[in-house]
């Protein structure tokens, strides 16, 4: 089992490597090395619905055979300095545990907010459209105080993201590690249990329209393909394929996407069956 996890991590790392060497428009489910300039504020509203399968044997009785999770994240990103931005995310969640077609338990509440600083480490603008950027992330998840949704602990986060744009092609690669100092297995649906969590993400975005920019162009439509891997130090590993579409204007962006598991080796929590995501972003 452990060797499967290591294989999955290596596979993801290998898939991430060419992206960071070759590679963006911002993807839907991962960090990017882009950020607002000083004084610019960016508001991001994202709804994510995920359906999970049966909970493991060790869980509560009766054991849920399905869990539906709706997460609505509100993210505010503010440019503090040329290379520094503050990111605050408040997640509201509705969780429904079901068994035999009936709801066992339904809860609505605020999960742990996330406070991050993003610092641009590197920028190389090699052409009028082309750029390579690398940014570091550091911060923490802080307890929301909502008993049904909080880990009850401050969980430090560190990460790194690379974004590369070459004409119509955009690539992102990111790694993020969260040191979980609290949490419990029964409420964990991935990354929020007692085990530490490592996320490895890679994405490719292709500008569908316009094929070439014109003087009047001010919107763009992108196809996005992401691989999102979550490894928990207890051994649970999952990789999701997330295809999506991103429509971007000068002051806003809208996005929709699906989430489909392509690899799962999960014992301590329910497996992801499928999910979808939709979001809007506004610049002020």
């Amino acid at each position: 089992m452990q060797s499967h996890s290591i294989t999955a991590i290596i596979a993801c790392a290998v898939s991430t490597l060419p992206a960071s060497l070759a590679c963006a428009q911002e993807a839907l489910n991962m960090d990017a090395a882009t950020q607002p300039s000083p004084g610019v504020i960016y508001l991001y509203e994202r709804a994510r619905y995920t359906r999970y399968g049966s909970a493991p044997e060790s869980s509560d009785t009766p054991r849920p055979d399905r869990t539906n999770l709706l997460e609505i994240d509100t993210t505010i990103m503010a440019g503090l300095a040329t290379n520094l931005a503050l990111i605050a995310t408040i997640p509201v969640e509705r969780r429904e545990d079901r068994a035999g077609g009936q709801a066992l338990d339904t809860n609505l509440g605020i999960a742990d907010p996330e406070l991050l600083l993003k610092y641009r480490l590197y920028k190389s603008d090699s052409g009028s459209l082309d750029t390579l950027r690398i940014a570091a992330l550091f911060g923490a998840e802080i307890p929301s105080g909502d008993g049904n949704f909080t880990s009850g602990s401050v969980d430090p986060i560190v990460g790194i993201a690379a974004t590369m744009i070459r004409g119509r092609h955009g690539f992102n690669a990111a790694a993020r590690f969260k040191l979980n100092t609290g949490g419990d297995r029964d409420h964990n649906l991935g990354g929020d249990g007692p085990d530490d969590a490592l996320r490895l993400d890679a994405s490719y975005l292709f500008r569908l329209a316009p094929a070439s920019w014109s003087a009047q162009s001010d919107t763009a439509l992108y196809a996005a393909f992401e691989l999102n891997t979550l490894y928990e130090t207890g051994g649970d590993t999952e990789t999701l394929l997330s295809p999506g579409l991103l429509l971007e204007g000068r002051k806003w962006a809208g996005e929709i996407g699906a989430r489909i598991p392509v690899y799962e080796d999960v014992r301590d929590r329910p497996e992801v069956e499928w999910g979808f995501v939709a979001g809007v972003r506004f610049f002020f």
Binding site: Q25, D125, S128, E264, R281
Partner: protein
């Protein structure tokens, strides 16, 4: 899991085929933004105010529409800048200026704050 893997494989394969077809359309993108005549460009290190009412900034890294928000905030709000029009096709920002006009160095710093790289300034 088998069903979802199969579904994922089909979606991925279809997407790659679609992208392969779409990607045959090439685009100028790798060439650095630069004026047609370098002789006409202005020294970016100069602290002296610009003398022209209309200049074109050649900028690298302007890769998406949202980039324009950063440009509007950092350059469009500088004293002496009446308007800043981003042209993604050419990788340029056309400025209309009034007294007191900014210096090339001020513009270079503003472009850097916006997150991009100023290559040259051309009077129009």
């Amino acid at each position: 899991m088998n069903t979802t893997r199969t579904l994922a494989s089909v979606i991925l394969a279809s997407a790659l085929l679609t992208l392969g077809a779409c990607a045959t359309t090439s685009e100028r993108s790798s060439a650095p933004a630069a004026p047609t005549s370098r002789d006409a460009s202005i020294d970016l290190a100069s602290k002296a105010p610009l003398t022209s009412d209309r200049v074109t900034l050649h900028v690298n890294g302007l890769s998406c529409p949202l980039c324009a928000s950063n440009v509007d905030r950092q350059i469009g709000t500088l004293p002496g800048v009446v308007s800043a029009d981003v042209n993604f096709e050419k990788g340029t920002i056309d400025l209309s200026l009034v007294e007191p006009r900014p210096s090339p160095m001020t513009l270079e710093r503003a472009v850097d704050r916006a997150g991009f790289t100023l290559v040259s300034i051309e009077p129009r």
